[in-house]
Symmetry: C2
Subunit: 251 residues, 2 copies
DNA sequence: CGAGCCCTTGAAACTCGTCAATGATCGTGG
DNA sequence: CCACGATCATTGACGAGTTTCAAGGGCTCG
C-alpha cells in the first residue's frame, strides 16, 4: 500500500514523529481527510462564542487562533499549519473562548466528532492526538516566555526558528528556507508589538545577515547563529531526533 | 456519607463546577488524597529535564510553572492553586520542558500514574480532568493576550480578577478578598515586567482605590470597576453560573 | 490606470527597565 | 527581649525600547 499520507498527508507526517503507527492506523488517519474545503485568506473558520460540532484540520496554508480586544487590537495566540487540529476542545467545552481564522488561503477539513471518537479507540492514535495537544500547550507556554521576557529582535528570531522546525516536521521546509505567508502586521499582532516596530526589527535581522524575507519567502541564512541569538531550545516541541535533523523534503 | 471533599477538598470543589459526580466518583476522588506532603516555600517540585513518574496535586498554598532563561531571568507561566494538577502530562511526554516550584508553603500530594489511570475509567471523572486541562490551556492563552496586549496596569487588574474567580471556585476567597502569598517580585516575573515597575503600578491601583494589598492579603475594593478596567471576561475559565456567582465560603 | 494594501521612514512622546540607595518587615539567635 | 541579617517594598534619576502619528512609496489586482 502507498498511502498519500506517507508522502503528502501532513497530519500523518506530524504524528509519525511522536508514535509509530500500524498500516491500519495509517489507513484510518488518511481516510479522515475527505471533503477538503478551500478557504480564502483572512476568513474566519470559527468565532468566539460559537458552539461548534466538527473538528477542523488544516491541510495547507496558515491559520491562527486569535482574540480581539475591545479597542480593536487583534491578538494572535497560535499559528496553525498543515497537520494541525484547530479545535479538539469541541468534545468537552460547549463554547469557543476564541476565534480561528485563515491567514493565507487554506485547505481545511471538517471532521465530525463521531469520526474522532472512532479514531480514539485505537491506542496509538489516541496517544498521538494526546501528545499533539500537549505540544500545542507547551508551545503556548514558550510563546508566553518569548513575549514576556525577550526583546523584540530575539523574540522574532525565536519564532522564526520554531516555525522552521514545525514546518520541517510536516515536510514544508526546504533546507533552511520556507514559505511564510504572513504580513508584517500579522507578525506584529503575534508578537505583541506594533507593525512599525516589527518592520524595523526585521530590517535589523536582515542587516545582520541572519535572514532574508521577501515575497513571503523566508530564508534563514545562519540557523545556528539565529538559534543562539533567539535563545531557541526546541525541547518543548518534543520532536524525535529524526524529525529534528530532517532537512525537510525540499523540492 | 460526608466526604471531606464536599467541604474541604479543593480538587473536588473545583471539578464539581464542571461535571456532576456520583457518590462513588466523589469517594474515589477523595481517596486520591493520601500522604500529603508539606513543602516549604520556594522549593522545586520537579525540574526541567526530569522524567517524573507521579502526578502532583496542590492541596494548599501557591505553586507555579516556570522557566529560567540563560540570563537568569525567571519566567512564571502559571499559578497552581489548591485543586490544580501540576503535571498530567506525565503520561505521554517523557521529559519535563519546564519546572514546578512552590511559592508559598504548600501541601502537595504525589499520585502514582496507575491511580490516575484507574480514575480515568470513570467517564465523569475523565471528562472533568479533560475539562480542567483545557481550562488550563485557555488560561495560558488568556495570559498570552494579557501580556502581549495590555499595559502594565490593566494587566495586573486582569490577573487579580482571574485569581479571585479561581480561588472562589475552590472556596478560598472571602467575598472580594483573598490571600495572595506572593511577593511583588513573583508578580513581576509573572507579568513580564521589572519588580520596580510592578511596585509603582500596584501603588497606582491602590491610589485609584481599586485594591488594597498588605501582608499578602488582597482586597478588591470595587470588583466591577477593576473588571472593566482590566477588561476581564471570565468566559475562558468555563465556570458554571453557580461557581461564578459564589461568594466563596469565606470564614 | 486607479484603489487598496503593504512596506518603509521620520520625529516626538511615553512606557518601562536599569541602577542605586533607603526604609520597612520578619524571623533568628544571642 | 533586643540586635542582627535577610528579604521585601519603596523611591529617584536616567536611558533604552517601543508606540503613536503621519506621510510617502511600491506592488498587485481589478
Amino acid at each position: 500500500m502507498n498511502f498519500r499520507g506517507v508522502v503528502g498527508n501532513p497530519l500523518i507526517e506530524k504524528l509519525r514523529a511522536f508514535v509509530p503507527f500500524t498500516e491500519e492506523d495509517l489507513r484510518m488517519l488518511d481516510e479522515l481527510v475527505v471533503a477538503e474545503r478551500e478557504v480564502e485568506a483572512r476568513t474566519d473558520i470559527i468565532q468566539e462564542g460559537d458552539k461548534p460540532s466538527d473538528v477542523h484540520l488544516v491541510m495547507s496554508g496558515f491559520a491562527c487562533r486569535y482574540k480581539v480586544l475591545p479597542g480593536g487590537k487583534r491578538n494572535i495566540m497560535a499559528y496553525l499549519i498543515p497537520g494541525d487540529f484547530c479545535d479538539l476542545h469541541v468534545f468537552v467545552l460547549n463554547e469557543m473562548d476564541h476565534s480561528l481564522a485563515t491567514l493565507s488561503p487554506c485547505r481545511v477539513v471538517a471532521i465530525p466528532r463521531a469520526r474522532i471518537l472512532q479514531l480514539l479507540e485505537r491506542p496509538a492514535i489516541a496517544k498521538a492526538f494526546w501528545i499533539a495537544a500537549l505540544v500545542d500547550e507547551a508551545t503556548l507556554r514558550e510563546w508566553l516566555v518569548n513575549i514576556g521576557s525577550r526583546p523584540a529582535e530575539e523574540r522574532i528570531a525565536h519564532l522564526l526558528c520554531e516555525m522552521l522546525l514545525r514546518l520541517r516536521a510536516v515536510g514544508l521546509a526546504n533546507g533552511d528556507r520556507y514559505e511564510l505567508p504572513l504580513t508584517q502586521n500579522d507578525l506584529a499582532d503575534t508578537m505583541g508589538m506594533s507593525s512599525v516596530h516589527m518592520n524595523r526589527v526585521l530590517q535589523q535581522l536582515r542587516g545582520e545577515k541572519l535572514i532574508e524575507f521577501q515575497q513571503h519567502n523566508l530564508v534563514i541564512l545562519d540557523f545556528e547563529r539565529l538559534r543562539e541569538f533567539g535563545n531557541f531550545n526546541p525541547n518543548y516541541l518534543h520532536l524525535t531526533q529524526r524529525a529534528l535533523a530532517a532537512n525537510g523534503n525540499g523540492v
